[in-house]
Each structure stands twice: as C-alpha cells, then as structure tokens.
C-alpha cells in the first residue's frame, strides 16, 4: 500500500473520465451496502445473544426437587440435580433426606424401597441407609448427601 503514489503523477487507478462519477457512485453504493451487511452480521449474533434463551438456566447448587405432596411418607423420588440424578426420600416418620442417586458401585441409579425402608440399587443388590451410607452389598462408598429444606410446598435440595 505504501507504493500508492498519491502525491506523484503516475498511478494505476483509472484516469478521471466522464464515467468516473458513475463508477464512484457505484463503489459508494456497494460500500454502503456491505457496511450495512457486515454490521448486520455483527449485530445479529449480539441481538440473539441478548434475547433470553428458552431453557431455564440451571443452577447447580440448589434445585427445587419436588413438591411436598409428591413425596408421601415412606417413599422416594428421583430428581435432576444439575446434570446428575439425585434421590429424595421421605422416611416413615416424615423426615426428608436427599442424596446422589448414582450408585457408587457401577453407577446405576438407585431407588427407595418402601418395604425395606432404605435405598436400594437394583443392579447388584446394593443397600444404602436413607442417609446414603452404604450398609450392604457391593457399594464401596456412601452416596453423596445433600441438604434438604422446604420452602412452602417446594422441597429445595442443595449441596452441603
């Protein structure tokens, strides 16, 4: 670009002729259109970015796991905790407990058994207490325990 001799006589650009104004107009027109198009290409993603997404944002640290009415005494319910399943258990005495629902043995999803009144993994007959402690069978570790609170009719589970 440095060799553009704008202050010298010789240059490769066409000499100003009678059609020069129309060529100039054409260039300006193209330039204007392209600027608008490029600005559009830049502003469109920005505009889209700012419009709120459809999915409700995931909050990992606490989640409304269920309604109180969905979990009667002596039952359990699997809920989605971030990207992992969790299990919420209501004991016979009405106490609410929550822990991870991923079995520590081979990562099956555990369930609450009302007949034996604790958490059970169907894959290899692993047993956990309602607090998630491994009490029998192959599980090597307890399930991660979560904190449970109630807010009105909502059961809110959070990582302790």
């Amino acid at each position: 670009m440095k060799n553009i001799a704008w202050d010298k006589g010789e240059h490769s650009a066409g000499p100003p002729g009678p059609e020069a104004p129309s060529r100039r107009h054409f260039l300006d027109y193209l330039l204007g259109t392209s600027v608008v198009a490029t600005l559009g290409a830049i502003l469109y993603p920005i505009f889209e970015f700012m419009s709120p997404p459809q999915v409700i944002e995931s909050t990992e640290s606490s989640v409304v796991a269920a309604k109180l009415s969905e979990v009667p005494a002596n039952s359990g319910k699997i809920f989605k905790f971030g990207s992992k399943p969790g299990i919420i258990v209501r004991t016979e005495s009405g106490e609410l407990k929550a822990c991870s629902a991923v079995c520590t043995h081979l990562e099956c999803i555990v369930q609450y058994r009302p007949d034996i009144k604790h958490i059970w993994c169907a894959c290899h007959n692993g047993h956990y207490s309602v607090d998630g402690k491994n009490i029998s069978g192959p599980p090597p570790r307890p399930l991660e325990e979560y904190k449970v609170n109630t807010r009105g009719d909502d059961i809110v589970v959070s990582k302790s």
Partner: protein
C-alpha cells in the same frame, strides 16, 4: 488468710498422692510378676525362649492374661520346680489332639468370654469339629491337620483385625496355602494343591490384593473358617449368593434351577469356575466361540435361541453406546460442548450393567426390559451428537458467509482508498 491457703494446698497434695498411689496399684496388678517370662526369655534354646518373646505382642497379654492362665503353674515361684508344680495346675504343652479343647476351655465359655469381648462368638470349637480338619483330628487321630494354632499362631496371637495377624483378610490365603499349596504335605490326603495359584489369578484376589478391598472374599469366606469344608454342589449357590445376592436370586427363578438340580450340576461354578474365577465377560453368553451356553445347549433347543438372543441384545446395546460415545467424542474434539448428553449416556451404561445381571434369569423378556430403554437413551445421546456436529457445520457455513461479506468489505475499502488517492493525486 495465709494459713488457710496453705491448708487447702496440703489437701490437694494429699489427694494427688492418693491418686498416684492408686494408679501404681492398678498398673502393678496389670503388670504382675511372672517368673515364667523371666526365666524363659533368658534360655538359649529358641524353642523355649520364643514363646516368652512372642507373647509380648499377644492379644491375650494385652487383655491382662499371662502364661499360667493357659498353662497353669505358679508364676510367683522363683524355682523351676515350684513354678511347674502339677499340684498348682501346671499343664505344660498340650498335645495336638488336645489343642481345640485347650483353647476352648475359655473360648467356648460364653460367661467367661463376655468379660473380654461381648460380641465374640464361642462356638469355634464346636464348629471346628464339623470341619474336615476337625473330623480328621477327632475321628482318625490325624495330627497333621490344622488346629487353632496352625492358623492363629501361638504365643504371638494377634486380633483378627490386626493387619499383622496371620488371619487378617489379606493374609488368610497365604496362611491356608502354607499347607494346602504344598504337594508334599498334601500327598497323603489326595487333594489338589493348585487352589492358591488359581485363586491368585481370580477376580476376587485382584480385588483383595490390588484394590485392597478387604471385603473381597478369600478362602474362609466361601469355605468357612473354623468349620472349613468344601461347599457341596447343593450349597454352592448359597455361598456365592452371600455377596452376589441379586444374581443368585435371579438364578433361582430361572429355568436353569430345575435343570441344574436334575443334572446334579453345581450352580454358579459350572459357568464361572471356582478358585480361578475370572472377571465375567459378554463372550461367556451366546452361541459363538467362547460361549459357555453351548456346552449344554445345542442348535435346536429353546435355550440355544434364548442365549443367542440375549447376547445379540447386549451386543446391540454395547454397539449403541459405542456409537454414541464415538460421535460425542468427535463433537467434543471439534470443540463442541457435549458434557450434558455425555452424562445422560450414563443411563445406557447403567442399563448395560443391569442387563448383564439380568442374564442370570435366562429370560429374554427380562433382559429386553432394560435393554430397550437403554437403547433409547443411547439413541438420544447419539442424536445430541449429530445435532452438535450439525451445529458445527452450521457455524462453519455461517462463518463462510460472513467471511465473504467481511473480505468483500475489506476489498471495497481498499478500492475506495485507491479511488480517493487517485483523486487526491489529480487535484494536486
């Protein structure tokens, strides 16, 4: 004032003195004099000094017992004759035949044992006589069999939860192997000696020694300890079912149960073998090479078809998971964020694990019940992978289009510069 304080000080001093005195009395009674140890530890013959030395680490010593509590005699006497006086109950070294009763004197006495360890069982002696060891000892007078001290050692007996104990879970197999792996020792009994070598190759040994999982089974977990005996054909399923409860339960409901009973086949070990039990694999089921089903089932029967079907369903699920994993990995390598479908794919792996257990029911319907949803999950993850790759193509197309615009604009600006500059040149 002053005298009052001195008074209170002297009282507290007196109390402290009493406390110290009581402490010494207590420790003196625990550390009572034992002429047995005093003499034996000095003896040159190691056979005679070793008991005194080893007793230092013995669980019985830490519970306040001493030589005379088993061997009788008088530890207060300073002379050999006085200490070993039969009138004072001196028993000396028991004969092999008498050892179970010798230990059982205390260990079979529930009232006595309660004082030391309320939860300790007191049926070891009785159980021992139900074992092959005990029967040979009692009925045939065979003294080369294992007695209490063969496994627990003697004079250096440690608690079973002491890692140095010869019967600590990770030491049990070695302890049994001392006799059972010795071809010389076992020759006259006419039993194989390869169990220990086989066990060492097993999945159980791997769990115990490599993963240090103390709950993994070693010899006594299947054979019993004090009542050690090979489980019979009828009871082997109960043995394995202690841990593999789900598989055992499923097997009981399967058509195999009746067939095995009828043919007098041992459950579990017919397919899985015993000491050299390997990590099970999918090749074990089916009708192809390496499949165990074809040992009994042949081309035409129902079991043959079911085996083939179960295998194909499991293979289908594995293939589905692999396919999804592959596409998700590809999307991930391409920089797409696919951690969510990757997590959801775990549901399919879950189904696979479950299906592998359900095989023990020998029911294609049961297996299908979990394979179906598993395939569904795998399919969804696959679609998520496809979508991620499509999104990537969309990005590239979008990029190509906008790059065209951008480069075109740059070119136009360049032309504009040339135009402006040519005019500037002319106007000068």
């Amino acid at each position: 004032m002053k005298s009052g304080r001195a008074h209170s000080i002297s009282i507290s001093n007196a109390l402290a003195a009493i406390a110290v005195f009581l402490f010494f009395c207590a420790s003196a009674s625990a550390q009572k004099k034992s002429s047995c140890i005093e003499c034996h530890i000095k003896l040159d013959d190691t056979r005679l000094s070793a008991p005194a030395k080893n007793f230092e680490n013995d669980i019985h010593k830490s519970r306040g017992l001493s030589c005379n509590d088993c061997h009788g005699g008088d530890p207060n006497s300073d002379s050999k004759e006085g200490a070993k006086d039969p009138r004072k109950g001196y028993l000396g070294k028991p004969k092999t035949l008498d050892i179970p009763a010798y230990c059982g004197k205390c260990h079979s006495d529930a009232n006595l044992m309660k004082r030391f360890n309320p939860s300790l069982r007191v049926d070891q002696e009785r159980e021992y006589y139900t074992s092959v060891h005990g029967k040979l000892l009692k009925e045939k007078g065979e003294t080369r069999v294992a007695t209490c001290i063969s496994c627990h050692s003697v004079h250096g007996i440690r608690a079973i939860n002491d890692p140095l104990s010869s019967v600590y879970p990770s030491n049990v197999a070695n302890t049994c192997a001392k006799c059972h792996a010795s071809a010389d020792y076992m020759r006259s009994f006419g039993i194989p000696t390869d169990q220990f070598d086989k066990y060492k190759t097993s999945v159980h040994a791997k769990a115990l020694y490599e993963k240090q999982d103390l709950s993994a089974p070693t010899c006594n977990d299947c054979h019993g300890n004090h009542g050690a005996t090979p489980p019979g054909i009828a009871s082997v399923a109960n043995v394995c079912g202690q841990c593999h409860a789900r598989q055992a339960e499923l097997f009981q409901t399967s058509p195999h149960k009746a067939a095995f009973d009828q043919k007098q086949l041992a459950e579990c070990i017919t397919c899985h073998s015993n000491h050299a039990i390997a990590k099970p694999g999918d090749q074990m089921i089916g009708t192809g090479a390496g499949a165990l089903c074809i040992n009994c089932h042949s081309n035409s029967d129902k079991g043959f078809v079911a085996a083939g079907l179960m295998r194909s369903r499991i293979d289908e699920l594995i293939a589905g998971i692999d396919k999804s994993t592959e596409i998700l990995n590809r999307a991930e390598r391409a920089g797409m964020e696919v951690s969510k479908p990757k997590f959801e794919l775990k549901g399919a792996t879950d189904a696979l694990t479950h299906a592998r257990v359900l095989i023990h029911s020998s029911s294609t319907v049961e297996v299908d019940k979990v394979v179906g949803p598993g395939l569904e999950v795998a399919k969804k993850s696959y679609q998520a992978g496809v979508a991620a790759l499509a999104e990537r193509r969309f990005r590239r197309k979008g990029l190509a289009v906008s790059l065209v615009f951008i480069l075109f604009l740059a070119l136009l600006v360049y032309l504009k510069i040339r135009q402006i500059e040519s005019r500037q040149a002319v106007s000068e």
